[in-house]
Every structure is written in C-alpha cells, then in structure tokens.
Symmetry: C3
C-alpha cells in the first residue's frame, strides 16, 4: 500500500497496510545500517527540527542519527533551550521553527495531543516522538518490526505487555499496532496500573503474571519509572520486582521460544533480572538498532517516498 | 557595490551601498530556501564557530541553519559549555577556537564591543550576533530586507520603532540601517526608555504613541524584556500594554497599508494583541524566514562572494 | 609501520613505531587543515559517538571537528544528557549507543580504565579521550607531534614537565610517549604533587624548578586545577605561582631555544606569566591546531587507514 500521509501522529489512525508499508521500508533501511557507508541522500537539503519539550536522550539521538543518515539538515531544539519559548506558546514556538523553512517537526511533549495540534497549525510534516501518556508511534513500529524479524509474522502471536500500562504511551501504541496486525495482546501488572478498561481496546487483562507469560510468544516488559513518583501506585520497587519482575524462576515457566522485549532503559533487578536482559532471548539491543531503521523509513515515507522499492543507496 | 569586508561588526560603519549588496544577495538565497533542496556548497569545508557567551536560541538556530545550508562545518560553543573558558579571558577562548582553523566566529556577547575586540586579535572573520545594548546587525539587515520585499523600497518610508529603545541593540542597528537607506525613523515608548539623545542619530522622538503610529508605513514593535528587571523603568506590564501596546483600537487609527514587525519572541497581550500578531499585516514570521536568507548572504559575502550574481545552486 | 589496532586506549601499550605512524599521518592531515576546503571523505557514512561522562568542552570540540572534517556522522552524548543513563550502567549506555550501529565510541570518563572496559564489551572501536588520572593519549600524541614539528626529532631532547603530576593524565601519557620516543623526561613541582615513584617510569624527579628548566629543550607546564580542591596539596595559588610559575626571571635562565607548552586552558599569572604565554617561544595555540590533525589521524587509522600515504583529498 503506497504511503500518502503527511504526518505520523499515532498508530490508532493507521491502517494495518500502512503499518506494513513502514515495516517493509524499514527492512530496506536496516540493510543500509549494516553497510560501511550507512547513509543515503534521500533527504538532502531538507530541514528537520527536533522539538523536544519533554526531556529525552534515547529517542532524540535515534531520530537525529536517522536524520543524519538520510542527509537532512537538523536543528535540535529542547526545553533546556528555553529562551526561544520565553513567553511563547507551543504554537508560536513551532511556527517560528517552521518559518525557518522546516520540512518536518519531530515533537516530544508532555501533553497528549500536542503533535496533532501542531499538525493542524503548521504546513510542515509532524512526527510524534511521544506525547504524554498517549502514543509513541515509532516505538510501536520498531517493536512490531523486531517481532516480525524474529517470528516471521505478527498475526496469531500471543504478546504479553507487563508493567505500568496506565501511564505508558509505549503500551498504548503497541496495543494499537499489535491488534491491528492480528496479535493477541495480554496486559498484566499491578491492578492500580492495569485498569480493566483496556479490555475495550481488544486486549485481555490479567493480574496473574505467571499465567500472563505462560503462553506468550513475546513478553514485552515496560520500564518502571520510579523517578516519576509512581510509588503511590504500588508498595515498593522491591515488591514490584518480587511480584512482576521477570526472573529466572518465571522465565523457566515460559515457552522456550518466547522472546523478551523492553523499550529501555532497563532497570536491572527490577522489571528484569540482569542475566535475562543479556541472554539470547532478549531483543532489547536489537530494538535500539531497529529504531533507527524504522525512523529512517518513517521520514522517508513522509517525505514522499512511496515504499521500500524506492530506498536507494548513494 | 562589490563586498570587500572581512567582518560584519555593526551597521554604523557600513555604507548604504554595502547594505544593499547584502539585501540583493539575500534575495538570491531566499530563493534557495524555497527549493526542495535548500542547500548550496558555497562554504563546504569551511569551519564556523558559533560563540554564544550570552544565552540565545532563536539567533543561534538561525545562524546554525544558515551555516548548514551553506554546507559549512559548525562548532557550537555556548556559555553552558563553561569548562572551555574556566579561568580564560574572551581573547584566550576565541584564539583557542580560532586555532581549530576556524574561518568565521559568530559571536553573541553581553559586552558591547566584544566582536570588534575579537576582530582585532583574530585572523578569522567575525560576525556580530548581538553585543550588549550596542548592535545586532543581521537583525537590522533582515528587517530592512523584509521591508524592501513588501514596500519595494526603503527610502522615503516612515518607520516607527516602539518600545524599550534605550537598551535595544535591535533598535540601534535598525536606526542606522533605516536612516542610511533613506527612511524617516520615529522612536516612541516610555520616556524612561526613549531618551531625547536619540535625536542625534537622525530620529524623531515622541512619547505620543497614537501620533507615532498614525503616519507610519512600518510599525516596528520591540519586545518588552520583562525577565530582565525592566520594571523599574515603567510601572507595570499591564500599564505598558495599556499605554504602548498595539491593540485593535490603535491599529484602527493607522494607515491601512501599515505593516507590523517584531523581532520576536512576542509577548501576546503586552506589546501586541494576539490577533494583530497573526493578521495579514504582520510580517513577524516572514522576518524569521528572511533572517536565514540574510545570514546566508552575510556569510557568503564574508567568505569572498562578491554579490548576488555569484549565488549558485549545487 | 602499518597500523593494525582497533582501539586507542593509552600510550603505554603502543610501540614507538606505532606512535610515529600516528604522527606521520597527522602531518598529512595538518595539510588538509590548511586548505580552504578542510575536509576529506574518509569516514563518510561512519557513525561516531562522543560519550563524555566527565565534562569537557575543549577536547570534545576538537574531536567533533576532527570527525566533521572526516565527513563522519556524529552523536554527542554528555553527562548533562542524563536521561539516557537513568538507572543504566556505563556498559548498558555504551551498548545502547553501539546498537545505533556506531563504528567508534570516543569516551571521556572520570574512572581510570573505563575505555579499556568498553573495548572489552563492545564491537565498536574505542578511543580514550581522557580517563580519570590515568591517560589522555591523543593529548600526548599532539604534544609529541608539536615537539617534532619544531625540533625535527624527539629522541635526545630534554623535556621538563612542571606542575601537578600526581593527578595528571596528560603527564602520564606524555611520560609514556616521550620516553618511548627517546626523550629524557624531568618532572618537577611541589613534592606533594610529584612523588618519587614516577622515577620508576624512567623519569628524573626534582623539586628545584630552576635546575629543572635550565637544560630543557621543552618546558611543558600543566594546568593548576584550582577548581578541583587541590589547595590541600600546596599552600596557595599565589605561593604556587611564586615557587613554580614560569615568569620572566625564570625564563631568562632557560636555553634561548627552549619552547613552552601547556595543554590549556592556561591560568595567566599562575603557572605561566601572561606575556610568556603569548611570546614566540610558546607553542600553546599550535598544540590546539595540531590536536585536530592528530585526532583526524587516529580516527583515520582506527578506521582501517594504513598510514600517511593513504590520506587523500576529496
């Protein structure tokens, strides 16, 4: 399916065929990342603004490197750079950045819907790099890409997402992507963080972690964001690790071909045991690598590329 | 007139013909910014240091993007990066940066005259990106460029600059540029911020805002820098907005073809009403766009380009 | 001698012939830095991560510009960017960066041995940009390069290093490089900062500064890091300047062809008199210029370049 969208705002509004187009295009870009010269001229002379109003290093670096490998010109604008937005609204900041002939604005913002708002007031293409607890579409695309690379398909797989679902944009985007692509999604975690309302999105909700991971093809662990005062939602980090952390005893009860994913950065000994994070069934570092390919693909398609057959070297 | 200068330190020392050469060259670069590939190889392999000793995001980003579009290699050095200048004088810092074979140093500094000082001790070309309350030459050039684009000329126009003139390098550079190019400049604002001594620069000074804007072709509003403890100079932001802010009632009394300018970032509801900032007579975002073209032109000329006829694509 | 190493971790493990290969290659790159187009395509499409876990601006800028001039893609990752390493070990941070298909990791870290550790857990090439009080190999290489440019050789020269030897990675790397290349190294400074144990590295230790500099061909001054609470090691900055600072009276007692070096940034009036820092016998700014050439050479060789004969323009 040829890509026709100007913005990448969420997974919810994408058709399954559009997701597949991104994944297929990312496959071609992953091959570029394995070459000695990891660069194509596809976006030469285009200007991309990375507007990170919420702190982020991992995602920003991944986008920035994807943009460099597409040969774009890049402006990094983060909250530390506060003088730009002194007294300015998000709209004014974004329109001022767009006035620099920006072709794309990659935005991370603590407010859900900020990218959608910008897409309505700007001419530039807008890419959501995470908005509040709403969506993080490129994360879900890289997760789907990683699963497909290993399992050959997504339809029919059992995927269990474990952790702080309630506040997680990673979980929301993954739920949309995985259910659209035909996976069966199970959510598990402390009941305060996994409300039953998520069943309305087509997921199964359970609070029995051993049951949740028993039949899973993919176990997707979310990061416990203990720096964000989530302690009120569960008694302690220690108790979380005991009740929901993936340790050797739990791993022994999973299917032998179940694979482990995590959006990073991991808390060793909390949501995942250290040796499991590094074992052959962990896809964590591959997710990082694939993130680059998926972001290159998304930018390439938003810039008018039609699909994987158009990805060319230089 | 062919450009022969090595530095761009201020507007005061430029001849009118030199200003026109920059504006004509900027016209050619504005066309580059409207192409899909907004890039020329003019400064490929040249090294530019952005030395921002005073915080700035807007101007730094504009210079950085101009430099990228000229294909230069770029080093950003800002005050946050304090370890370089630990115990170092400005001269030592600049000479160390120059020792990296820098071709140009773009400097913003809170001390008036800092760029002139550097131009005497360095071999590299020096560009003033704002020095204290002295000058901000590229801002005045982009403002003159914007006026000329819309009015077709500058000579004979009535330009009113409204606000904190006393501490404004934007005002000073604009006064020099506009009077050299034959405009009639009126200054207006609270009497504490608009001393009569400015009449010596060839301007008219008035404290009657309605009279100041009545016959203006261009109304140039300055930002009220309320974060810089200017409150001692006027009673309150609210009173400033009442007495000097551009609101609908005041706008109704201006000429229908009067255009509104502001160096940004704007304080909506203080120096300008929100709807006026966004109306068809506001040139505010165009100033941002033109800033890029003017800065590309300045760097191109300082690098040995003779004028607009030499601006070539790649 | 053809270069075969994948990492540049220290000077201690290098053979003299390897050091000479770097210096010879740097000579070719210095010529590149003197051209109008100071750029070669040698590392185009390679990704270099500058991982600065300890604050640094000078060294980071020098590496970054060297990387730009080799046409590499660059990711800067510094401690300010703390969200990446929230809860992450150095190993996890580095492996995540490597998962972005990084070809090289340039690391500065406050812990001695951090680069060696990374070289064991990563596939990427690792370059030590300063580790604790251990080594700073590119600094020693640029110092050796600078000496050889001026004296035509290093073997047989008398080099005196003056200052805080105990905590100085610059001193350690210089001692290794200079003794391997056949220089006679004298160390001098306050006895609390110049322990006799350094004699085991093949140096002469003296506490008589006038004797130390009397026969020196090269006087290498170290920076007094008064921001790092070294005051407990000597009575006062003033007393240090009196007892060990290079002033006119001391300079008069040196050989007329003795040259002055300093890794910067200098404390004028402390370890060196202001006029001596700027005199014709000071190589301080040349060291900065040569740092670029040496870092380009190191990256070029680690990337598979065999030696100076392979350095080509674009």
């Amino acid at each position: 399916m040829a890509w026709t969208r100007k913005h990448l705002l969420d997974i919810e509004s994408l058709a399954a065929e559009e997701i597949v187009t991104v994944l297929d295009t990312a496959r071609a870009f992953k091959a570029v990342g394995e070459r000695a010269i990891k660069k194509v001229p596809a976006l030469r002379g285009r200007t991309i603004v990375n507007l990170f109003v919420e702190p982020s290093t991992r995602t920003r670096i991944s986008f920035e490197l994807a943009e460099q490998r597409l040969s774009a010109d890049i402006i990094n604008f983060s909250t530390e750079a506060s003088s730009f937005k002194k007294g300015e609204t998000l709209k004014d900041t974004a329109r001022n950045l767009e006035a620099l002939n920006a072709d794309f604005i990659v935005i991370r913002h603590s407010a859900s819907g900020a990218p959608h708002f910008l897409s309505r007031v700007l001419q530039a293409g807008v890419i959501n790099a995470g908005d509040g607890a709403h969506e993080h579409p490129t994360q879900a695309l890289l997760d789907a890409f990683t699963i497909r690379e290993h399992k050959g398909k997504i339809a029919g797989l059992n995927v269990t997402i474990l952790g702080d679902i309630l506040y997680s944009r990673v979980a929301r985007s993954n739920i949309w992507a995985l259910t659209k692509l035909g996976a069966r999604v199970t959510l598990c975690g402390p009941s305060t963080l996994v409300p039953r309302t998520f069943e309305q999105l087509g997921c199964r909700v359970t609070y029995d972690v051993d049951e949740a991971i028993a039949g899973a093809d993919i176990i997707h662990l979310l990061r416990i964001q203990h720096e964000r005062q989530r302690q009120t939602m569960f008694p302690s980090i220690h108790e979380y690790a005991q009740l929901f952390g993936l340790n050797q005893a739990r791993l022994a009860r999973t299917r032998p071909d179940a694979l482990i994913m995590h959006p990073g950065p991991i808390n060793r000994g909390v949501e995942i045991d250290s040796e499991i994070a590094d074992c052959g069934r962990s896809l964590i570092l591959e997710q990082v690598t694939n993130g680059l390919a998926v972001r290159m693909a998304a930018l390439f398609l938003l810039n008018g590329g039609k699909g994987p057959h158009e990805v060319t070297g230089d």
